[in-house]
Subunit: 90 residues, 2 copies
């Protein structure tokens, strides 16, 4: 079943306390080359049938109105991957 | 500054109540072709200097030990993108 992935991140200009906390923890663990972290949401949406332009447009609309808060978040990417595998590095 | 993206999702075999709630809402809004939703986390990690194998390995270790709970989550992807732009569809 095809999967559409929607990535939502806090707006770049906003403070991200969660990201700051994670960055602090990673730095204290010795990861000196890490200079910042931002934490967002990743939605995997399983859909029935082929992913066409109309469906992608519907998902973009839902992403911008339901899956994210337009005041504090941006939909940074929408991509579909028919074989979303665990542990895949790409 | 290079950015390494870490995607973390709930283990596939686990119930995802948050995902179920989102899927229900999207279906009630008329998105009949959506059959399921899973909600995970997306980390954008800014790093100093070039992204090399050693740094990627360090980030993978931190992803599996700090950024995710190995009991209930999988690190599904680690990728680096020197130009993570808002609103980019790819």
């Amino acid at each position: 079943m095809p999967t559409i992935v929607v990535d939502v991140m806090p707006k770049a200009e906003l403070l991200d306390p969660q990201g700051k906390a994670v960055a602090g923890a990673l730095t204290r663990m010795g990861a000196e080359r890490i200079t910042g972290v931002r934490v967002g949401k990743r939605f995997e949406i399983q859909v029935d049938g082929p992913v066409d332009a109309e469906l992608l447009e519907q998902v973009r609309h839902l992403a911008e109105t339901v899956l994210s808060n337009a005041v504090i978040e941006d939909v940074v990417a929408i991509h579909h991957d028919d074989s979303v595998m665990a542990g895949e590095t790409h």
